[in-house]
Point group: C2
Chain length 403, copies 2
DNA sequence: GAAACTTTGTCCGTCGACTTGACAAAGGCG
DNA sequence: CGCCTTTGTCAAGTCGACGGACAAAGTTTC
């Protein structure tokens, strides 16, 4: 429980409420007595808190468990569709929105292409998306709206400071959506939202600290510390895409030279592949280029890698090594043992992942990198959308970080 | 307030106690009514908490302040010598220990050279140092022992995992000192301790997040997030000295190649200076080398820089630029607006600092680095020792992070 | 200079929330 | 079948923040 100022009884209560909820969420079906043991609260307090959660409809009793020499426990469980959340992913190519239940399962999904819309037009598309999902949601069970968007976002006010592609600047999206729907809204940077999704919905990976790096068009990391998203002083924590890594690098869209994005993003990989195709007109990449009518996507390159094309493999490995450098810096700085990789560049598969791991291990202090796991995370298209939902759920239900 | 498990009334109380104490510490002399306004606690609660602090001898009434149209307020203030802390700095060349009061003022200081001692002998020296300081401390006012040491430290158990120079491995120093003296003891890595010292004792710089980088023999950063030291999953957060930055670098004492330490530490600077002296036997550096009987220290180089020697200046700037790279990575990763530089390499002065700033600005996303301040911090020899004291005080008195 | 108004600090009663202890219900075990 | 355990609940106790009232000690106004 992080407090701005004073501590009160209400906060204590809210914290314990969240703690019990989280315990049921993680360990359920579970008995009240067991919750008391795990949380170290008394059985009395747990009973009261569980009762409250049942009244709210969040939890239900589901029969009795086996006895262990005494009265058989009454098991309680989270009602998975007790609430739904609207999760939005304002991607660079398309806006996706969905109704998500408490387990992070997508109930209904809508996607609209961006088609170059920006400014007011883009905002209008978001509003229509939200309206449609609000209408589709079961009455009275809608908990709120979580939004993941590229760019710099003030998560406290829900204001988008700066989103290049959509040409949004100082747009109070959180307030706009909250006023339109009467629901709480939470806006976060897409990489950070995805990180929180990995943290909340992946039951196996419940370490208190986690870094999720999303490598797609851009590169950004979400840093979860002690179960909470770390924002930094200016909501820019994790913006690693624009630290320069190449000494005499090419110009980046940010205006500077040699940024990580210029060598490790999907755009960079595709450009490398195009150059390679031009150099070897009879190669696999050139063949795919011709097939696709002069266009190549990251997934074309990924397929070439899987098909065993040596050039594609080299390109993937090179991109992976650049990323590995950044991962090494992260590990060295924060000593976080769990690194999750997200975004479409992960489709490049093992040659790429191995390069990331190898380079990270070689560049970070052995003692640290030895115990660090670097894995590819949720590969679904919904990572950001789910993460945004996770953030809203975590905030509205007061789900408390485990351990 | 970060909680492992449940929240209780006692924690609420402890938190508010610390909050009041911290408010008096920062804003004192201050009236109870003013504390109530700042903390948003009621006057009643504040009165009780202040009364408690007075009973503990931590706070005293110091006359009345000016009236603002009503009864003149009774001002209270922290009794600066109400408690003393033993702060230890187990440096690579010498062990320093001191009694430190609540304002971070050194009351009595002892220093013993290490003289190559390690293992048990070094531990013995530490114990003698502590014994002497315990005897010198005013009876009943000793709050505990804070230790800053190089190496990897488990701050939770007070166990030193690995300290190369002293040849300590898995040494439970915290427990040893606690049992020997009956006092609470807290052990932390030296850079991290120094960071906490900068945070706690520098009244002007009270942002919630701060990074302090200590550049001496080794290079390490302490990361303060939300007023608390961030340790990472394996107590290695901030170990940036051994991330490799040079592609075809020289071998580092850690066994790998091109680490930051090989180009930006005091050792690296001195080596560069020696090479320069050999190259230009009639230069300023060579002259100083001869004067000192074949030895050069970082301070000799610093003096050469101040004297305007162009070669020394170039060496300083080069070292600064390498560090600037690391700072850029830090800012990009964490978006922390306050960076403090500590350690004897800071003696190189403006040419070095300018290089750090310039390189950091050029390599980090403009939007972030623009508002970041990079300053040289407490230049006294006691930074680590004071920081270790700060950590213990912060923990034992429950001093709560401001804002 | 007295009355009216402010501000401060404390006292007392209230209330919210966790804890303790007791107890009935419900099961296993000898 | 009786004894022991475990579970869940109830009533009483306690801790600690809150709110209102009030005296003390100022300032401002007339």
């Amino acid at each position: 429980m992080r407090l701005a100022t004073k501590a009160t009884h209400q906060q204590t209560r809210a914290f314990n409420h969240g703690l019990v909820l989280r315990t049921i969420y993680d360990l359920g079906p579970i008995s009240r007595a067991e919750i008391a043991r795990v949380t170290e609260l008394t059985r009395t307090s747990v009973s009261e808190l569980v009762g409250e959660a049942i009244d709210e409809g969040l939890v239900e009793e589901v029969g009795r468990g086996p006895s262990s020499g005494g009265k058989a426990p009454i098991l309680v469980q989270v009602v998975e569709d007790a609430r739904v959340v609207i999760g939005l992913d304002l991607g660079e190519q398309a806006f996706a929105g969905a109704l998500v239940d408490l387990r992070g399962r997508v109930q209904r999904r809508i996607e609209v292409p961006v088609d170059g819309r920006d400014g007011k037009a883009a905002l209008g598309a978001v509003e229509r998306l939200v309206d449609e999902l609000v209408d589709a949601a079961p009455a009275g069970r809608l908990l709120g709206i979580g939004v993941g968007t590229p760019g710099l976002v003030d998560t406290e006010t829900g204001e988008i400071r700066w989103a290049v592609n959509l040409d949004w600047q100082d747009l109070p999206l959180g307030r706009i959506l909250a006023e339109r729907t009467g629901l709480p809204a939470f806006v976060a940077n897409d990489s950070r939202a995805a990180a929180m999704g990995e943290y909340l919905f992946d039951v196996n990976r419940r370490a208190p600290n986690l870094v999720a790096i999303k490598i797609g068009h851009g590169i950004g990391a979400g840093i979860v510390l002690g179960g909470e998203l770390f924002a930094g002083d200016g909501f820019g924590a994790g913006e690693i895409g624009h630290t320069s890594v190449v000494d005499d690098g090419v110009e980046c869209r940010c205006g500077r030279f040699g940024c990580l994005e210029t060598v490790a993003s999907s755009r960079a990989v595709v450009e490398q592949a195009l150059a390679e195709a031009a150099r070897h007109p009879d190669g696999d990449l050139a063949r795919r280029l011709a097939q696709n009518g002069g266009e190549l996507t990251i997934d074309d390159v990924a397929e070439a890698v899987r098909a065993g094309d040596e050039q594609a493999r080299r390109i993937a490995a090179a991109a992976g090594r650049w990323l590995g450098r950044a991962v090494a810096a992260l590990i060295g700085t924060l000593d976080i043992r769990h690194v999750v990789l997200l975004g479409n560049v992960t489709h490049l598969g093992d040659p790429w992942l191995d390069a990331v791991r190898d380079e990270a291990a070689r560049r970070a202090l052995t003692l640290l990198s030895r115990e660090t796991s670097i894995e590819i995370g949720g590969t679904s298209e919904d990572t950001v959308l789910l993460g945004a939902s996770a953030l809203l759920m975590s905030r509205e239900l007061g789900l408390v970080p485990a351990r």
